[in-house]
């Protein structure tokens, strides 16, 4: 009983939060302005609790397992959700269904926690669904906008399709190995064609959720149509959790097939980086720009994953921590500008610096970090990813990745140029910035600078296992 409480602590906390929100909704209506600070404090508590009483071990016959690394990954996701509650406060306060929004988001987060901790393919599948279906409903939260419904519909259809492929892959794995438990599968793998086929199906489902290139077509439309808070959740939290479980699945479960998946990862990473970057070059809408840039970033993550070493794990977790700060800051500024000035095109950002100095600097810092320019943490994140990928000695592959970083500079800096240098006769007026948004942007900015400079963090992640 004691073990259950400590090992499943983060999941139990989230379940309690879900039920609290349900009762808030059932009870007499509480105004959004009064409820939002309470939820923010609860999410902050959830983040802080993640650092204490972390145990290691497995429960329910290996169905659920946790370790110090998994606890750290969960902290990253909790932090991202806390930042969402801060940065998008303006939109959330006006939303008619704010309690439901948090209820669905926390349910999806619970699904991600269970997914990262799962030790069985059935458990993995159910928690993957739990982390997807609520997000599809969240994508439809701009109820009066057609594009929002379109995005939600595209997301639910493409995720249902990828679930079908995943289930087919899981059933083939079960047919070929006779077990669903992560711990027992590796011993049964011998590289027979059926097992390779099963693995390809399983991997395609991961590629769908991570929007790796041949499977990326849903991402841009969904990101553009949904509210920016949901875009942030999809492009940061959802992708980070998928990258974490992909590491477990590749490094532990399908370890015997590593020569096969290494080649797959190299091809997919190159295609993802190149296609994501080339499409991002042409975008005028800032949300679509971030959609394609997040596709390109996943390509870099795949470079890190391909190393198949502890350095690979550490570099991916470290990069995701930085990516949470940088992408959240960029999307947070985009949300404020879109909410108050109604601008979502890059041309609309021209001359933003004239009246909104704080927002401009926050956006610039976030974009520098996303592009990977040295003093910011994004540079160190990319550096470690490429260093990890280079361990296998495929230097031409790393060269392609490095060249892609240069291409990405163009479209990130185009936004910076529009904000600081382009002349505009009617620049956006002074945007009143709420305290919570300001606090969120300050946290993100501090994270972008400090995580890069404090080298101890990377070393600390490397000691986790």
């Amino acid at each position: 009983m004691n073990e259950l409480l400590t090992l499943m602590k983060s999941e139990l906390v989230l379940t309690v939060l879900i039920f609290l929100l349900l009762f808030v909704k059932i009870g007499r209506g509480v105004r959004n302005e009064a409820l939002l600070p309470i939820i923010q404090v609860l999410l902050l508590l959830n983040f802080i609790v993640g650092f204490f009483f972390n145990g290691e071990g497995s429960l329910f016959g290996g169905m659920f397992h946790t370790s110090s690394l998994i606890a750290f990954e969960k902290n990253i996701l909790s932090l991202a959700v806390y930042l969402i509650s801060l940065l998008f406060a303006g939109w959330l306060k006006k939303s008619q269904h704010m309690p439901e929004f948090f209820l669905l988001m926390i349910t999806a987060l619970l699904g991600m926690f269970l997914m990262i901790s799962s030790g069985n393919l059935l458990m993995f599948y159910l928690s993957l669904e739990l982390s997807t279906i609520p997000v599809a409903a969240m994508a439809n939260f701009d109820l009066d906008k057609k594009r929002s419904s379109e995005g939600a519909m595209k997301m639910i259809l493409s995720s249902a399709f990828s679930s079908g492929i995943l289930l087919f892959g899981i059933s083939l794995v079960y047919g070929a190995t006779g077990t669903l438990a992560f711990a027992e599968i590796p011993a049964q793998l011998n590289g027979s064609p059926l097992q390779v086929l099963a693995f390809v199906f399983l991997f395609s489902a991961f590629a769908f959720k991570l929007s790796v290139v041949p499977f990326h077509l849903w991402a841009a439309d969904v990101y553009e149509g949904s509210p920016i808070a949901v875009t942030a959740f999809l492009s940061v939290v959802s992708k980070a959790s998928m990258a974490f479980i992909l590491i477990t699945v590749l490094y532990q479960v399908f370890k015997p097939l590593q020569s096969i998946w290494y080649n797959m990862l190299v091809l997919l990473a190159m295609a993802t980086m190149v296609v994501g970057n080339l499409f991002a070059l042409r975008q005028q809408n800032i949300k679509r720009l971030f959609a394609f840039s997040s596709i390109a970033q996943v390509g870099f993550v795949l470079v890190g994953i391909s190393s198949n070493s502890t350095l690979g794990v550490a570099s991916v977790v470290y990069f995701m921590l930085i990516y949470v700060f940088s992408a959240m800051a960029a999307l947070g500024v985009a949300a404020v500008v879109s909410h108050h000035a109604g601008q979502e095109n890059i041309d609309g950002y021209k001359g933003l610096y004239k009246n909104n100095k704080f927002l401009s600097w926050a956006m610039a810092l976030a974009l520098f970090s996303l592009a990977g320019i040295p003093p910011t943490a994004g540079f160190f994140g990319k550096l470690f990813l490429l260093a990890a990928g280079g361990e296998r000695g495929a230097y031409w592959f790393i060269t392609v990745a490095a060249l892609n970083m240069i291409v990405s500079l163009y479209y990130y800096l185009r936004v910076v140029r529009a904000i600081f240098m382009d002349a505009n006769e009617k620049p956006i007026d002074i945007i009143p910035l709420g305290n919570t948004e300001r606090l969120g942007l300050v946290i993100c900015g501090a994270g972008i600078i400090l995580v890069g400079l404090a080298g101890g963090i990377f070393n600390f992640i490397q000691t986790l296992h």
Partner: protein, 167 residues
């Protein structure tokens, strides 16, 4: 050839034939009706494998509930035989080529797998599909996924209510 084998080939043929009919029927309602036949054939396979409970659940859930929903949706959308959205010939050609390639890969992967050579399904024996062993497994080994699915349904319900409730 024993009676079970005769049933097996009969049901397999019926399943494949009606699955093809699902695809080539012009009228969506006919497609749904053929799909029900597919489910009946598959339920027959479950009975041959001595999994009565799965057979009945398959019938109740798929052939019963889900098919009724399907029919409702199709009738509400009022599709008719003329509504054929696929006009592009090249799209059809590409679809046939990729589908055929996938079929080739699937068949060759199954044929060249050593794991499956000389293995046959347990016919008429085995207790894995009986309601007793299913219940014991579900509430011992798979308690957590079982409970997890209840949260999944809760969240899906909340999401559906929010989307459906437009003031």
């Amino acid at each position: 050839m024993s009676i079970i084998e005769i049933f097996f080939w009969l049901l397999s043929g019926l399943a494949i034939f009606s699955a093809i009919m699902v695809l080539i029927s012009k009228n969506p309602v006919h497609s749904v009706l053929w799909l029900i036949v597919v489910f009946f054939a598959i339920s027959g396979h479950y009975i041959l494998l001595n999994a009565q409970f799965l057979a009945i659940v398959n019938l109740i859930v798929y052939a019963g509930a889900i098919m009724v929903l399907f029919l409702f949706v199709i009738m509400l959308m009022n599709l008719n035989a003329d509504a054929d959205p696929q006009k592009n010939v090249w799209l059809k050609v590409i679809g046939i080529v990729t589908g055929g390639l996938l079929l080739t890969v699937l068949v060759s992967a199954v044929r060249s797998s050593n794991d499956l050579v000389n293995r046959s399904a347990e016919l008429k024996t085995g207790s894995i599909g009986l309601i007793k062993s299913l219940g014991i497994t579900l509430f011992n080994e798979y308690t957590v996924p079982f409970e997890l699915s209840s949260i999944l349904f809760l969240s899906a319900m909340v999401g559906a209510v929010v989307i459906g409730k437009k003031e």
